[in-house]
């Protein structure tokens, strides 16, 4: 396992044979395709497929457990709101259970929305579980984004890493001054995070000078142009050859996303109305 800013990635993976841009395209596809899919069966299947994909890519699935509390919290929140403030469309079926009135359509819609959200979340998480920061930058550079922008992003990522490390030490220093986080009220905890800003900014400001001097010392210019007007070499880019299969996969993923969008918008595919699960649910609660 190899640590990155946002988690861990496997040391080896069949995915690494693909160009970073191809993998970025996967983020685009899996992160956005569910926007056009209402039917929960499809999103649930998508979630399952992504898990299989991650397994194939040698990602350590147990590492994804950190997202579990989030998924549970979101579920609880969404369903609580749906039950307390249901969408009372005319003709919608209701049923009673444990003394509460449930609106079947509203409930099912929430169920479908939840799975759409889970699919999009997992679609995003899969990218950060299989790509290092360097690969993301190479992918962006392959899109011909200006050097100044990609370098800014690169520095931001690096600074974020330093930030996190400083944050850890600052929290220890707070504890050494008698601050017991666990005994604080929520409001005070919020104020506490504001307090972290002081040392973090102090360190960042001091470091800014050092970083800019270090860059200058190695001939960096913000334009990415040489003294004679030529372009700076992009060496790391050459480490990632863009092959035919990458072209095919990028195009295929783009086409798939477009196809799903067209099917949904133009032909009404993937809607809740046609969902077999919905029919089953309504039958079970006595609806039409």
């Amino acid at each position: 396992m190899r640590r990155t800013l946002l988690g861990v990635v496997p040391l080896t993976s069949p995915l690494y044979a693909l160009h970073p841009l191809t993998r970025l395209a996967t983020l685009g596809l899996l992160g956005m395709v569910s926007l056009f899919i209402d039917a929960p069966e499809v999103n649930i299947a998508l979630v399952f497929l992504v898990f299989v994909y991650l397994r194939w890519a040698r990602v350590d699935l147990s590492g994804l457990r950190i997202y579990l509390p989030l998924t549970v919290t979101v579920a609880v929140f969404m369903f609580a709101v749906a039950i307390a403030f249901p969408e009372r469309t005319p003709g919608s079926h209701t049923f009673r259970f444990a003394g509460i009135t449930f609106y079947a359509e509203s409930l099912f819609w929430t169920f479908a929305s939840y799975w759409r959200l889970m699919a999009m979340l997992l679609g995003t998480i899969q990218y950060f579980s299989t790509n290092r920061e360097r690969e993301t930058l190479v992918a962006i550079r392959a899109l011909r984004v200006p050097f100044a922008v990609t370098y800014f992003l690169s520095l931001a990522l690096r600074s974020a890493g330093m930030f996190l490390e400083d944050m850890r030490i600052i929290r220890e220093a707070e504890r050494a001054r008698g601050l017991d986080e666990t005994s604080l009220a929520l409001r005070d905890r919020a104020r506490l995070y504001a307090m972290y800003m002081i040392p973090l900014f102090t360190i960042a400001i001091r470091r800014t000078d050092e970083i800019s001097n270090a860059l200058y010392a190695r001939g960096y210019t913000i334009t990415g142009r040489l003294a004679d007007g030529g372009r700076r070499t992009d060496f790391i880019h050459t480490r990632y050859p863009f092959r035919t299969r990458d072209t095919i996969l990028c195009v295929a993923q783009g086409a798939l996303l477009v196809a799903v969008a067209v099917a949904r918008v133009g032909f009404g595919a993937f809607t809740v109305a046609h969902s077999p699960l919905r029919r089953l649910f309504l039958a079970a609660v006595g609806g039409a």
Partner: protein, 290 residues
Amino acid sequence: MDAVAIRGLAWKYAGRSSFAIEEVDLTIPAGAFVGVVGPNEHGKTTLVSCIKGIIPHGFHGVWRGTVELFGEDVRALGSQRLAELSGFVFADPEAQFTSMTVEEELAFGLENLGLPVAEIERRLVWVSDLTGIGALWDKSPYEISGGQKQRVAIASALAMKPRLLILDEPTSMLDPLGKDAVFDLLASVKRETDMTVIVVEHNVEQVAPLADLMLLVHRGRVARAAPPELFFEDCDLLIESGVQPPQATLFLDRLKRQGRFPGKLSPRFEEDVAAVRDVLAGRARGGGTP
């Protein structure tokens, strides 16, 4: 041609009332290994920053005099030419590591120079062999220690094949193993290349044995400039000026003042041991003061 020729250099930071360095006249021959010592806030970093051109580029203030690097006036040079002529390694291993992997970090300066891909490859292999960091190429900054980061920083600077390499307190944030690794590396650089090297250090014990020339920067002036054998002649002056000579050298200095040691004061530990042995042997033979 001299690597560095400084005449009448003075610099005052904007907002300060006095000059950080003044009346500096200095010549450093090409290929020399120079150690710069002195108390904090007395001008060591200012001096080497002026040599590298970081001052006046990134700072506001008053500049007087001239600094020439291999015959070229530093103030007239752009960052690319300055990077070709001189490399700079800073004290903080974190702040100078700005990429996401070691390989990128090594290549960064070379990309800025616009070198062809094949040349960059060759240099990466060369510098990794020289500095022993070949196994670290794929690692991210979170995966390597401070000492390793500093070696990467030195390697990144070396890869650009500058004619002059300046290191500003390169080991101050490292543990003893890290310090040793950096000084071993500098010894290799001295042996295997003809680079001119300037090292600012508090660790006099480790820098003096490598130096051809030692500079004492005190109150903004170069108070003393001499080869090591002569530099430690007046240990009291050094101590008053806030520099701690190597303990063994200091001990020999005391013996010398008592007339029990006639030789030169070397900062090299092995030579100091041999010198003390000679004194003891002289005593053992009952020969009195040798």
